[in-house]
Each structure stands twice: as C-alpha cells, then as structure tokens.
Amino acid sequence: MTTTIQYILSGLAIGGIYALVALGFHIMWSAAKAVNFAHGDTLMLGAVVAVIGVDQGVPMPLACLLGIAAGGIFGILLERFAVRPFVGAATSVGWMLTTLAVGVMTEALATLQFGGFSRPLPSPGVAGAVHILGAGVYPQELFIPVFAVAVVIGLKLLQRHTLVGRAMQAVAHNKQAAALMGINVNRITALSFGLASLFGAAAGILVAPVIQVSASMGAILGLKGFAVAIIGGITSAPGVVIAGFAFGVMEKFVEGYVSTAAREIVGFSVMILVLLAFPQGLFGKREVLKV
C-alpha cells in the first residue's frame, strides 16, 4: 500500500514535469504547426541560468526569475531565427534539424560552463521529506503537478479573457483567416514560442532542486514530453496534462514491478500504440480529410 502510494506520488511529480514540457509543445504547435524539437534544452537553460545567478551571488528568487526570462527570450529568438524560415516547407525536416542544432549548441555551452558536472539548485522545497500514508515525498515534488494544473487553467483563462489569448486561438484555428482579421500572425507565433519557453524554463527551475542541474538534464525530458503531447493529443491542453500524469505514474509502476530499462521500452511502445489507435492522440481533435 505504502509502496503504491510512493509510486503514485513520485509518478505525479515526474509526470507534472512531462505535462509542463508537453504543454509547451502544445502552445508552440497550436501557433506554428511546428515546435522546438530541443524544447528539453529550454528547461536546462532556465535551470542553468538560475544556478549561474546563484553562483554570482544574485538572490535566489531573482536568479530564478532571470532563468525564466532567459528561457522566454530564448524561445522568441529561436522561433524567429530557427523555426520561422522553415515553416511551410514541404517536410518538417528543416525546423526539426535547426532546433536540434540549437539544442546541441546550448548543451555544449552548458557543459563548458559546468565541466560536465551536475549542480544543485538550492530550494526550501527539498530540505526535508514529508510523509503521506507512509510514503515520503519532497514538498517541491508535490508542488510540481499542482503548478502544471494551474498553468492549464491559467492558459484557458488567458485564451478566454484576453485579446492576446483570443488571437492565439484564432491563429491556431486558421492562420489565413486570422491574418485577414488583422491579427499579426508572426507576432502571435513568436509570443507563443516565448510563452511555451517561459513555462519550459519555469519547469526546469521547478524540477532542478529535485533532479539537479546539468547540461543533459533536458534531453530525455524533452523527448518524453513530446511523446506525452502526442499521446494526449497535441491540440488539447488538458489532454496533454492528463497524459503527462498518467505517463509519469505508469513509468514508476514499470520501474517498480518490471525493471528500470523496461521503462523506456514500455513508455515509447505505448506511445506508438496510442498513435496507431488514435492518430490525433487520446484527447486531440480529429482532422477531416479534404479532397
């Protein structure tokens, strides 16, 4: 019983991170039908900047804000220079490779900065574990899924009640029509990438005290976040968050009852199977074939 609760709690924590990464993919995809393929490195960038800030004697909260801001700027620049020139091409290979290239460069810089080591990001959230029905968990970990849910709700509110949010939805729905309505599609797309990267960097900083900061921390989180986005349906924000939680919890149970190495095998096989059964993801909108 305790073990089960432990797996669920640990799974929700890591699943919360997958959900946040997947949400980033959702936002980018909605705006541009393209994503930053190295979105995992946005997480890393946020966390690395925060650690550098702390190293330089910047107060902790300010350092974290700096990290998040750096992530947002990174996202906007990336969209402008690595994604936009390639959107609309016949295949998606262009922006896939450019964003991967930017990821490689970012990781290389972070490795140089840290000499390959992991670095801690201090946080009161990991000072001591709390116990729930015998299962131990850091408050920081409990906060992550809560934050993920808050972000989805915030996103919905943004889309419903602000001009920018409605413009984002219009662009997601139909770019040409949105442009005819006088919406600056390019600006909204850049903004969406910036927003996705803000959340990404925030996720990186949130998870950093739990998993430590290193150049390679984002790679696998990014890939799994994308898998989660596809499972949940990349067009549905609540869908990807639910899928994120489910994926995280499933991983813990596979680790617990099968083996660690089986985790990736099971996880990615599930993704392929879901995609075969539901090409638009579990909660995604179906697109109608037009001839």
């Binding site: 690595a82 262009g94 290239a101 490689v104 140089l112 089986a262 392929i272 995609l275 090409p279 001839v291």
Partner: protein
C-alpha cells in the same frame, strides 16, 4: 544523359578502387571503410527522405538491428558475411514494414516521433536483453569476416564494402528512375492525386521504408564485422540525427547526395577534434549553417546553380510520341463504360450531403452534373472515385461493384478523375506527371526496376512515348520539360486531363475543368472533351458553366440539397421550373441563366 550517368558511376567506381591504393596507413583505410558503411545507410535513407518525403529519426535502430543480428549469428552460428547480411536485411525489412504501417495514419512530425521511439526502443531492448545482446557491455570478439569459409583480410573486406556501396547506389539510382521512384515522388507531393491514378500510397511508402531499413541493416552487419565490437551506445538518437543530416547535407533525392553527405560527416569529427572542448558546439553550429546556407544540400544547390546557367532541354518532338488515339484505343469488344449509382447516401455527422442519389452515365455519353454550391456535387465525385465511403447505396462501373473499394482500386478499374483545385505533382516535370499516370499500365516488377531489365526499358520507352502523345493531344508538348508548378493555371488544368488519360480510363470524371479559364481556353476545353469522348471514353462533367454544358452534354443531372431534382437532356432540364427555382430561389421565369452562379 545515359552517357553521363555511366560516367558518374565510372568515376565513383574508380575512386573506390583508387583510395585503398593511396591510403597512407591502415587507420585511413579504416576510416574510409567507415564512410562506405555510412554511405550505405545514407543512400537508403535518401529513398525515404528524398523520394517519399518521410523523415526518419530512427535509422540508428535499424543499424543496430542489423548489427546485432549479424554479430549474434556470426558468433554463435558462424555465419559468413553474406549470410549475415542477408539475415540482417530480412530482419530489418520486417521491422521496416512494421514501422511503415503507422505512416498510413500519421505523417510529418508524428511519424518522425514514431521513428525516434523505435530507435529508443531498440537501444533499450539491446540494453535489457542481456543474454542475447550482452547488455550494456555489448558483444565483443565478433569473428573476423569470412566469405564462404575464406577469411577476409583488411583489403579483401574493403572490396566487399566498396562493392556493397557501389551496387547499392546503382540499384537505388535505377529505382529512382523507374515507375517506383516516380510513384514515391508523386505520393510525397500529392497523395490524393497519386491515389486517383491507381497508386497505393501505403505500398509505396512501405517500399521506401523497406529500402531504407534494409540498407541500414546491411550496413549494420558490415559494421559489426569491421568493428568486431558493438554495444548499445553506438546506436543512439544523435546517430540517427547524423544519418538524417548526411542526406540533407548531401542533397535529398539525388543519386550521390547521401554518399557525399556521409563522406563529409565521417571525416568531420577528425577535423573537429582541433576545436577541443568546443567541438560539440562547432558541430551544432555547422548543422545550423547547412540548413540556412544549403537547405537543398550540396548536390541540390549545385543543381539549381546549373539549372540557372544552362539552356533548358529542348522539348521532345511530336514524332517521338505515340498518338493518343492509338495509346488510348480500347479493344473493339470493349463497350464504352457505364457508371451506375444507386441510392447513394453520404452523411457528415448530422449533415446530409447526399440523399439517395441515383445516377446513370450511359456508355460513351458526356454526362453533366450540375447544381448550386453545396448541392453535393463534390461529395458525389469524391464518393464515386473512392475517397469517401457512402453510408448507404451502391455504385458500379460496367457491372463491377465499386462501393467498398479504395480510391486507387477504383482508378485501376478504369475510373479516372481530375480535381477542382488542381492536384499536380508540382516539383515533377510536365512529362513526368503524365508518366506517373501511366504507373498502373507498366507491368514490370521491383526486380525489373532494380536491374533495369530489357523488358523494363522497353516498357519505359513505351510509357514515355505514350506520355508524349498525350501531351501533344492536350497541346502541352512544348512545355514537356517544365516544372509542373510553373505552368500557367490554364495549362495546369490541361495537364491534369492528360495525366488522368494516361491511366487509359474508361470513364473520365472532370471536376469543374472550366473554373478559372478564359473564354478562349473554354472553347479549347470543349473541343478537347469532344475528342476524348470520341475515343470511346465516357465523361462525367461537373460544371457551373452553362454554355459549356449545353454545348457538350448528352444528359444533364441536377443536384440540389443532396438530391437529384432533374435528369434529362439539356434542353428539358433548362426549362424545368424546379431547376430554375434551385438556382434563383424563386419560380420567376427570368431571362434564362446565361451562366448559373449561386
């Protein structure tokens, strides 16, 4: 052209012979051998990426599958190089076909992510299945390569590798310039149009996946022998990215592109070593630079430069073609086809698009289908050509039921169509567009294509001659070598008709062929449709243009709100009060509509 092809391969072969003779030491030879292996992967991946337009970021998975298959068989069962390569090819082609299956339903990024997942799964299975793969420690002491029991020394093994790459590039080149290569390009550019020409996109995609996975598998088997050690971390995601980059860097879709990309990326790490700790960064920067400076790759960029400089090829002469009257001639015993639809009903959610529509296109007639916008004309066209499945009802061509058939099956049975919004293969030449239409009439198989058998060459000549004749028929011969997308709009419509005719249809379905044409062009179109009908091909014409219909049609059927409201001779229909009401919303007898627009 054939002359230059031969020269290209001659030089390629000479280089493969010359390099080992001048390699300064064993290390350099080995590095070159590594390039040959990567070249093999890139050449195969080029079929998938360059021809079929599908992105795979999981080639390292196939490379690993081939490697492990060969290593295990060589170590445990003492298979020789050839047996190992064949086994690796078999295993990889099975997995390749398996991985092609998702492409039926997903494309683009989704498919890329499926391939990434495949690569990661293979890598982790290799880690997990310790008893077979040696886990993370991998497999060591893979025996030296031997062929039919003869040990292959460094140089002998070099010849095996060089031979494998040369043959692979040659075969893939042959495939590229056969019906299969054309079909791959066609499916990549417009799947809809390809289906309407009788091409099964799933089969074509599966073929390109199989080519890419088999070459990667064989490369993996050869790699296991070259390295005599393999472990899971040889086959990671970043290797898959590197393989894809080879194709993009060299030039997707070109014969030597993959090989050139593989060469550069094999030697690049050697030069990047001097950047010390900055080499990862330099690699990323280079990747970025390639995408910006040469998105077409080296060969693609050179080609577009050449294209700008040299004069265009002269168009083929009319005498090179077989007249359309001859190539489209049906046997005397074959009557013109009759299309009959009964009680067709199609619903989209709650919307009734077609309601119990019955229609009969009599053999040899020109039958017009008209109706206001939203009447269900397009739905009817898409249903009888197999793109939509009807909820109720049936339809048949000359008594052969078509109801549950797929679009490419319908096309193969003799029903060809054009599209309201033209669906050309934009990057192919005008002539190639028509030759794609001929796809189903070419009978040579995969082996024939790979080996360029005499029969295949004969069939191809025939196909080309027929295509030239059809271009002549529609008056597009002077533009035969132009890229289809650069044609003016009116000519694009004609090309669609020529392409549809290339399937040798028994019934031609023209979906608003006059839309957007000038009145001169419409007159030409009218003449062309008459000539088509005179060849014994039944025509179903969907049009708004009343003059054209009145001049051409033997029978006119009017659709409104998904129902047939009239079906008779043009003159009768024109005076039918229900038709007038449908078009004008009143039964007022205004002046007759000159051009019905809703």
């Amino acid at each position: 052209m054939r002359h230059l092809n031969a020269t290209g391969f001659l030089v390629f072969g000479l280089v493969l012979i010359a390099v080992p003779l001048q390699a300064a030491n064993e290390y350099e030879l080995r590095l070159f051998m590594l390039f040959l292996i990567y070249g093999l992967i890139a050449a195969g991946l080029n079929v998938l990426v360059g021809l079929s337009g599908l992105v795979s970021l999981g080639q390292a998975g196939f490379f690993a599958l081939g490697s492990y298959t060969a290593a295990i068989l060589a170590t445990r069962l003492h298979f020789d190089v050839v047996a190992c390569c064949i086994s690796a090819a078999v295993v990889c082609s099975l997995f390749g076909a398996l991985l092609a299956y998702p492409s039926v339903r997903v494309r683009g990024v989704y498919l890329a992510v499926v391939t990434i997942a495949f690569g990661i799964i293979v890598e982790n299975v290799a880690i997990e299945w310790q008893s077979l793969t040696g886990g993370t420690t991998g497999l060591t002491s893979i025996p030296r390569p031997n062929l039919f029991g003869i040990k292959l020394s460094g140089f002998a093994f070099y010849w095996v590798l060089a031979g494998a790459l040369f043959v692979a590039v040659l075969l893939i080149h042959h495939l590229r310039y056969s019906r299969y290569g054309r079909a791959m390009l066609a499916v990549a550019q417009s799947e809809t149009a390809a289906r309407a020409l009788g091409i099964n996109p799933t089969a074509i995609r599966t073929l390109s996946f199989a080519v890419a996975s088999v070459t990667a598998g064989i490369a993996g088997a050869l790699y296991a022998f070259l390295n005599s050690y393999i472990s899971p971390d040889i086959f990671t995601f970043s290797d898959s990215v590197r393989f894809l980059l080879m194709v993009i860097l060299g030039g997707a879709g070109s014969t030597f592109g993959g090989v050139i990309g593989a060469y550069i990326l094999t030697y690049l790490p050697e030069y990047l070593q001097q950047f010390q700790v900055w080499q990862r960064f330099a690699y990323g920067a280079l990747l970025l630079l390639v995408m910006f400076v040469m998105p077409l790759g080296i060969v693609g960029t050179l080609r577009s430069l050449f294209d700008r400089l040299r004069p265009p090829d002269p168009a083929p002469a009319s005498s090179e073609g077989v007249p359309a009257e001859k190539s489209l001639h049906h046997e005397a015993r074959e009557l013109p086809a009759e299309l009959v639809a009964g009680d067709l009903t199609v619903r989209f959610g709650g919307l009734m698009a077609l309601s119990k529509v019955s229609l009969r296109v009599k053999g040899g007639e020109i039958h017009a289908l008209i109706g206001p916008n939203g009447a269900g004309k397009s739905t009817f066209v898409n249903t009888v050509s197999g793109f939509y499945q009807p909820n109720e009802g049936w339809f048949e061509l000359d008594g052969i039921g078509l109801t549950a058939r797929r679009s490419y099956d319908v096309a193969r049975l003799g029903l060809a169509r054009t599209f309201q919004n033209t669906e050309l293969f934009g990057d192919l030449s005008v002539l190639d567009n028509v030759m794609v239409g001929y796809h189903q009439r070419l009978r040579y198989g995969l082996a024939g294509a790979l080996l360029r058998t005499p029969r295949m060459r004969h069939d191809e000549r025939e196909c080309r001659a027929a295509a030239i004749g059809l271009l002549d028929f529609v008056g597009l011969l002077p533009q035969a070598n132009d890229t289809a997308r650069h044609l003016p709009f009116g000519l694009q419509r004609r090309l669609e008709i020529a392409r549809a005719l290339a399937t040798k249809p028994r019934l031609l379905l023209l979906d608003e062929p006059a839309a957007g044409l000038t009145s001169q062009e419409i007159d030409d179109l009218e003449a062309m449709i008459r000539r088509i009908a005179s060849l014994g091909i039944s025509v179903l014409l969907i049009e708004h243009h009343v003059d054209l219909i009145m001049a051409l049609a033997d029978t006119v059927t009017v659709l409104d709100y998904g129902q047939v409201i009239a079906s008779d001779t043009p003159a009768t229909v024109q005076n039918d009060p229900r038709v007038i009401e449908a078009y004008f919303g009143t039964s007022l007898s205004h002046a007759r509509p000159q051009e019905a627009r809703a």
